[in-house]
């Protein structure tokens, strides 16, 4: 059971975890944690897995097997530089015209969950997150780098910015008071 716990934690962390940290998280003794982690290291070596557990002086890390190194690099490249899909471009555009915008607003506008797309736009440095104290939530907007890439000084230089930023259609969708029929929307 301790082995499963350590395995799960090393996967979730994706980076080295010290023995001390593992002891805290699993509420187990140091000797037990080390014994279980070492057993896991052996287990990963013995089955021909695409993963390895690496032991450093006093920490453990789950990593990809050296045999698949080039693939790992291909994946890293893919995450940052593959062509943006249409849903991604739409989300980016909404962040530009409507930003700073909350995730909930983005999702109302697009009608689908945007978690994975936002994660990718953040990694690519196209969108940045900030904490809005008034709304008490995270808001998203396009980065300065992206605005410069478009050849603009500020985002409000986008064509029809004023008209589209507060377009009537958006207000109807996002402002339930302006649209009393929205009360009929069933809770999920």
């Amino acid at each position: 059971m301790l082995e499963q716990k350590i395995e799960a934690l090393l996967f979730l962390a994706g980076r080295p975890l010290s023995v001390k940290k593992l002891c805290e998280l699993t509420e187990a003794k140091k000797t037990d944690v080390e014994k279980a982690a070492d057993a896991l290291v052996t287990q990963y070596e013995s089955r021909s897995s695409g993963l390895l557990l690496q032991k450093a002086s006093d920490s453990y890390q789950m990593v990809t097997h050296p045999d698949v190194r080039s693939l790992a690099q291909a994946y890293a490249k893919e995450e940052v530089s593959s062509e943006l899909t249409k849903p991604s471009l739409e989300t980016l555009t909404i962040a530009a015209y409507r930003g700073p915008v909350t995730k909930a607003e983005l999702e109302q506008i697009r009608g689908v969950n945007c978690s994975l797309i936002l994660r990718n736009l953040l990694i690519r440095g196209l969108v940045e997150a900030a904490y809005d104290k008034t709304k008490a939530t995270t808001v998203y907007q396009v980065t300065h780098d992206f605005v410069r890439f478009l050849g603009l000084a500020k985002v409000d230089e986008l064509p029809d910015y004023l008209k589209l930023h507060d377009h009537e259609t958006l207000l109807k969708l996002l402002n339930p008071d302006a649209n009393p029929q929205e009360e009929n929307l069933p809770a999920v």
Binding site: G14, V80, E83, E90, D145, L158, P159, L173
Partner: protein, 237 residues
């Protein structure tokens, strides 16, 4: 006719199933005919049915009506057998999935949740990588297309049967139809129909159009002419 207390219901099939199970009957044509009146009463008392859900309830009401009339007046049972067995099958299938959804609720209740990782495992350096060949003009076009996609969502609550005809008025129409005198009055409306079967089939067709939200049925009072109006906007989604 005794009144049956029903719990909150989510849709017409949910309501039907509750009524049949309350009577401890198996799902059959006879059982459906048996609970028809209770179905209409429950519908009349319900005040939380939105105008757009009403059409779905009415379609089932029409089928119940057909089943009941087939049992009361077997001489009508020339056509429409398919529609009648449809509802029986539909309800049986609905029951299967309803029970499955209860099993799923139990599984979720065990809280055997699993977790992925929010970020990639390796340190992927945040590297500015803009989309190639994206100009401000493209972005304007994209934003306009997003707005166009929203239009039907906003229109959705409007693309329903108008509330001008209250639920109880509509229920009266249907209930009356079950009684003989209603069938007579229906003849007046459908003067061109040659047989009684024609009348029922026409009525079902009418309700199907109501369901598709292409027309609005209005009736000032019971037994007055039913006015049929075409809705301007087609259903949104």
């Amino acid at each position: 006719m005794h009144h049956v207390k029903v719990h909150t219901f989510e849709g017409p099939l949910d309501l039907l199933l509750q009524l049949i199970e309350h009577e401890e009957l198996d799902i059959s044509q006879v059982a459906l005919a048996h609970v028809t009146e209770q179905y209409l009463q429950a519908l009349e008392k319900a005040d939380n049915i939105s105008a757009e859900d009403l059409a779905d309830f009415l379609v089932v009401a029409a089928k119940l009506l057909l089943i009941k009339s087939r049992i009361l007046l077997p001489q009508l049972a020339v056509e429409g057998a398919e529609e009648a067995t449809d509802l029986e099958r539909q309800l049986k299938i609905f029951k299967e999935y309803l029970e499955a959804s209860r099993n799923i609720a139990k599984i979720i209740h065990k809280r055997r949740f699993t977790f992925g990782r929010g970020k990639p495992a390796m340190l992927i350096e945040e590297k500015f990588s803009p989309p190639e060949a994206l100009g401000v003009g493209d972005m304007r076009e994209l934003f306009l297309s997003v707005l166009r996609d929203i239009e039907p969502v906003i229109a959705l609550p409007k693309a329903v049967i108008e509330k001008t005809v209250s639920i109880s008025e509509k229920i009266e129409i249907i209930r009356a139809l079950i009684l003989d005198k209603a069938i007579v009055s229906f003849h007046n409306i459908m003067k061109d129909s040659k047989t009684k079967t024609d009348v029922i089939v026409s009525f079902l067709a009418l309700l199907e159009l109501v369901k598709q939200r292409t027309i609005v049925v209005k009736q000032g009072a019971l037994f007055t002419d039913i006015a049929i109006e075409r809705l301007d906007s087609p259903p949104a989604i």
